[in-house]
Amino acid sequence: MQKEKNSSKVKVVVVFAMALLLSIIASAQDTTRIDEVAISANRLQNFSTGSKVQNIDSAALAQYATGNLADVLNAESALFIKSYGMGSMAVSSMRGGSAGQTATLWNGFALNNPMYGQLDFSLVPVGFSDAVSIQYGGTGALWGSGAVGGVIHINHRPSFNKGLTIGAKFNAGSFHNFGEQLFVEISKKKVLSSLKVFNNSAQNNFEFYNSSLSKNPKMRQRNAERKSYGLLSESAFKIGDRQTVNIAFWYQFTDRNIPPTLTQLNSADHQKDVSYRATAEWQYKGKKINYFVRSAFFDEALNYDGMLSHSQVSISEAEAKYTLRRTHFFNAGMNSTSAYGMSDGLMKGYSQNKIAAFASYRYQSENEKWTASVSARQEAVNGKAVPFTYSAGVDVKVKKHLSLKSSFSKVYRVPTLNDLYWMPGGNPDLLPESGFSEDAGLVLSLQNKEKVDFRFESSVFNRNIDNWIIWLPGQSYWSPQNKLKVWSRGIETSSKLQVQRSKLKCGISVMTNYVLSTNMQASTEGDASVGRQLIYVPMYSGHAKLSLEFKGFLLSYTHSYTGYRYTASDNTQYLVPYSIANIYCSKNFTFKGNRFSLFAQVDNLFNQQYQVVLSRPMPLRYYNAGLTILLNTKIN
């Protein structure tokens, strides 16, 4: 155990040292030619035909810059974010799926923990990502295990030749929430290197109404303190005209107390999360052929009340893309992922080795009116093949303003290390969850001389998953079993209207989600969950956003609605719907190429009393304000 730990630290240090060395070598040689590289998004950009992709760019992310990814997804996407409270864990349900059925990729590498299968979005600082893309629907053939409900891509977007930028961001908010972020970037013609550091602390001792007690008394949250700090170093450099190397290293430490539930007087629980993540990628862009080789090493430790879970994942991937006459696109690659997990619950260490081969083909018509793609993937876990996976999609531009899309994909999720080996109860005979996901949508987009911009997108989806894993009690301990069949279907809409009048820009956007996700198979005799909505999947949810921009001023109002969520599988217990309103305003100044920005926001404006998760109180109205400074100088 101790040996494992040491070797992991050594590995991290080696990767980091390599990253530094390479960036020094690269900065030594400098020539010409500039082009933008969006790393690791090859398959997302080129072979996601027919699926709905939502891009949240850096401008939109800026509003959440002092928060975490859960805040962004909650306010901007169709995902349901299951938040256990302010500062606490937040996982997702995408199109009625489980938390493990949302895959999150950082620069193309899966962040889902190999032991739990999910990612805690409250541990992903927004300030550490340049762009977030959400791919809705199953894409198992492209991304492998876990890409069932959808995929979240967090990407670095290196931007060359920007000079030296030094930035700082400070914020202060209710409940002793303080945050500091520092940012340094050197961006030359062929070399880019940045370092981001953050430090955050909050008491989270908010007031709430306790609906579990008679007379609904007002109380103050206890044992909810959180402290977090981390650094992200990213480098990109070009070698000659055709090659690019990207390197990233992300370290983060979070220490938080776990507050009591509404029916507990006190809690002394606490959790520490420490993660080291290093990635490297080499790209070669030829006239017809592109090569990508990438590799990552993740080390994560979670300590809950002294119970330790420690995992290590190393991922290597190589792929090639070939373009023929601008109409035919081929892609093929291999991925090897080995995960090692060790915890008090597993009693000893276990590993899971996955190897996958994948290929895609896209055809784009000469007139660019339609495009279609097919993909396939074969994966083996510990030498045993999982079902062959394939997908197909089509995009058709029917009219100037109207396009239709449709896709289907086989999807799967392999059991996690805890599912397989937890002591006692782990079930080594578990099969992967698997099924089919289908999607159809339309996009209507109207422009009027750049003054009015309207976009409407709607999708219907359907997904049937077999062998859905649930933990059921056995005679003396719980054990996971492939018991459920889950049928999820629904309709999503997203409408966006933007009007520009001289210097005033006005935007309205509305998103609605209707999700039915029901269990179709009894796990025991007389099981009343058959035909019922899964717990923690709201049938109705949606949000609206109104924004006004004028001479560097931004004022935005968001309103979100989350409907009933059942907390019992027979739907006899539920949480009531809630509506949350937020206001955000900011003012940007530019002075001699340097940028300054002030912001203030009010969350839960109307003091809604609510719970996202049963017995976990959420704060009433609270505030946050801060400033950002970005100093920029050109360098040669």
Binding site: S212, L213, Q264, N266, G474, Q475, A528, Y564, T567, S569
Partner: protein, 338 residues
């Protein structure tokens, strides 16, 4: 454009599907002859319940605590004991005991400050003992002041306790010992070597103590008969398989019952364990067991997938099904009021 209107229509239609849950409301008036059924709910959900089943008209009143008190019972209600006309409900993850009026389920008072309480044993001298999962101690409670007045150190997970021959015998799920406490000094005075992982015990009509140990992966489960006066193990029955739990007895205390993937019954005079269950579990996993001391009726709960209401099966003393009904999530124990 036709497509667009079709979509709009779909969206409007979908909005017609109701997500509003069905609400059952009821008021609590608890008959004189019935069964309290303790529903654990789910860990950290704070959704424990007490249901009341009227034996006469076979009607169930669910979550009587909430209707009587307009508040939630707590997180993981573990067990319940009727004593001196009051109901003592041990709420594990709320670290508390709630004392209720047995007729109305109204809360009279509560006792706080436990670590992870499991079972409550009144001693008859104004005091009670409370066993605990994590505290490595038994708490001594003064019933008149409703406060913890002392602790008795006892390493491991202490569970069911019995007052027998003037001494208290304590089950411990993390040891191979049955601990003995002197109630006059509130001190651990001795222990008896038994099987590993004892969780339940019963006194029979002959004044003998029966202790059921569930065992673990390497140690077999055992049922032992102990003389509480001489503190000697008089008989040992070793189980071939399984992890039996919930040792219960009937009103005349001449038969014992337990769950071991089915309901088993054994006479206190028997010299071997029964080979076949009295009530087979089939595909379900039985979660709780109770024997009506008056009629000998057997109550079994099936917790289903553990996130939905339990199904309660009521059998007569011969094991024939009389009635089945729904009760709170993870119903684990039965408390008979008569």
């Amino acid at each position: 454009m036709r497509f667009f209107s079709f979509y709009c229509l779909l969206i409007l239609l979908s909005a017609c599907v109701k997500d509003t849950p069905i609400v059952n409301s009821q008021t609590a008036v608890l008959s004189s002859n019935g069964v309290y059924i303790v529903g654990e709910g789910n860990f950290n959900f704070g959704n424990s319940t007490i249901s009341y089943y009227n034996i006469g008209d076979q009607k169930v009143q669910e979550d009587v605590y909430r209707s009587a008190n307009n508040s939630a019972l707590g997180d993981v209600a573990q067990s319940m004991v009727l004593f001196n006309g009051k109901a003592y409900v041990v709420i594990n993850n709320s670290g508390a005991i709630k004392v209720l009026d047995t007729a109305t389920a109204k809360e009279l008072k509560h006792i706080d400050g436990f670590t992870s309480p499991r079972c409550f044993l009144p001693l008859g001298n104004g005091k009670a003992y409370v066993s605990d999962l994590y505290a490595n101690a038994i708490s001594v409670v003064d019933l008149s002041s409703s406060s913890i007045v002392g602790t008795i150190a006892c390493a491991g997970w202490t569970e069911e306790m019995a007052l027998c021959a003037g001494k208290v015998f304590v089950c411990n799920l993390k040891s191979t010992q049955l601990y003995i406490v002197d109630i006059s000094t509130d001190k651990l005075v001795d222990s008896i070597a038994i099987g590993y992982g004892a969780s339940s015990l019963q006194e029979d009509k002959n004044g003998k103590l029966w202790v059921l140990s569930g065992g673990d992966q390497s140690r077999a489960a055992q049922l032992q008969r102990i003389n509480p006066i001489s503190e000697v193990v008089e008989a040992v029955f070793v189980f071939e398989s399984g992890s039996p739990q919930h040792l219960k007895t009937n009103g005349s205390r001449d038969s014992l019952y337990y769950l071991n993937n089915g309901v088993y019954a054994i006479a206190v005079s028997a010299d071997a364990l029964p080979k076949t269950p009295m009530i087979s579990a089939g595909n379900s996993i039985f979660y709780g067991l109770g024997i009506d001391p008056q009629s000998g009726d057997i109550y079994v709960s099936d917790a289903m997938d553990y996130v939905q209401k339990s199904t309660i099966y009521r059998y007569n003393s011969k094991g024939n099904l009389r009635h089945s009904f729904k009760s709170g999530i993870n119903s684990n124990s039965f408390c008979f009021k008569q």
